[in-house]
Point group: C2
Chain length 236, copies 2
DNA sequence: CCGACGAGTGCACTGAGTGCCATGAGTGGT
DNA sequence: ACCACTCATGGCACTCAGTGCACTCGTCGG
């Protein structure tokens, strides 16, 4: 209890980290619900009141850095230019989130085991994921403002991206963090892009004469193909 | 307190209904969080212990019949034959859920207002929707067992269906239950079906041969172009 | 040297949720 | 008519998450 806050200027509150460490030491051995907040603060050596100063609820200590991750993702979306493909952009945002998980594989796997067996934590995780999904959807709504059914398409694509991301992420977590998480998620997002993104189709490169060539992967929805045709032909 | 259980054989517990009625009488006037369980049981005229016998938590009284709705939906999925389009089937399942909402528009709107402004209820609603989504995904996983990336496609399509359903449902609820909910949701689901259902996605998923090239003269009527696309893609 | 300030803490309180047991009404068997 | 049994309900006490308030420090600026 002498040189505690040696590096307070770095923005890393030591008490917060101590609480997370204590929580993740107790949760695996006695379970989440069997561990009380008093147990955590006792092990961390801090007052009970301080716990709720750093975490609004007991569940928040399980996801200590999701606020920052969400902020990073929204910042990433806000930084993008308006030229690139919106679907591609939200897929890249999902890849960004995956990188956060992949940074601490052991931690992510441990948390996954917890959330899988504690219903309360699963519900909390859902509310977290919902915020990611809403962030993606809001971005797409902005990009699709001119489209007919823009908000519908935005919501559906955001949900699809999150679902694909989660499908790949969970399969990676289930294998204890073995394998290439980036490749797995990348493949899952490719599927979503093939369904919704259609073709990047660089805008400026026109064909020499009065002939238009449209290339689409089989599997792209018909409406998307038609939309591409309309855009290329300069109508709608 | 004389002829209480006159129709006990119908499977409708009167205490449960009384609790729901009392809750929905108190929530609008003093808010969800300001209303304690003791308030509800006092108004309903039952013991506090009985509340938790019918509802595992305070939040459950807000969604009194979601268990039944979920069971109906899973039964609907289980009843279907294996011949029809799986995507079509899950979309029909979503339409079934919508019908439950549309049966009591006033109740649905009131609940929507509650869940919109109480974060705890929103989180609970998410966990409910997650179960619907999982039910759809499990059904699709069974149908897509032979496909490559079957579970991925199942999860993504289920998420898309739920997102489309919610998008339409919320817009209907926001308008106080005015308008044709079925048509709104139908249109939203058509979008999902056009994105995923239109393509049977035959065994060969991503081969180089599945690239389609359409060549058209600029100036050709749009309908002719679309016709060409449809012919090439083998639909119509 | 002192007052302000903020981080940490202790304490008491509310309210959700649970376990246990008593009651009381129906039910069936003898 | 009586007893045993079941089951729904109610009451009571308890745990624990979360909150408001007041207090104590150490630090910093004057």
């Amino acid at each position: 209890m002498s040189s505690e806050k040696a590096e307070a200027g770095t923005g890393k509150p030591p008490i917060r980290d101590a609480l997370v460490a204590a929580a993740y030491e107790l949760f695996p051995e006695r379970g989440y619900e069997q561990t009380t907040v008093d147990d955590i603060v006792a092990l961390a050596g801090v007052g009970r009141r301080s716990f709720f100063r750093y975490f609004p609820s007991k569940e928040d200590v399980v996801f200590p850095d999701h606020e920052r991750c969400l902020a990073d993702m929204t910042a990433f979306l806000a930084d993008g230019s308006d030229d690139d493909d919106p679907v591609r952009r939200v897929c890249d945002a999902a890849r960004l989130v995956l990188r956060m998980y992949a940074e601490n594989p052991a931690f992510s796997v441990q948390r996954y085991r917890l959330t899988r067996q504690v219903p309360g934590l699963r519900a909390y995780e859902l509310s977290v994921m919902w915020r990611y999904e809403r962030a993606l959807a809001e971005y797409l709504r902005g990009r699709f403002a001119a489209r007919r059914d823009g908000t519908l398409q935005a919501d559906v694509i955001a949900a699809a991206v999150v679902a694909a991301h989660n499908n790949a992420l969970r399969s990676w977590l289930r294998s204890d963090g073995q394998g290439d998480a980036g490749a797995t998620v990348g493949h899952a997002l490719d599927y979503v892009q093939s369904a919704f993104g259609g073709v990047p189709l660089p805008p400026a490169v026109e064909q020499p004469e009065d002939v238009v060539v449209v290339v689409s992967r089989r599997g792209a929805p018909l409406w998307r193909v038609v939309q591409e045709i309309e855009t290329t032909l300069g109508r709608g």
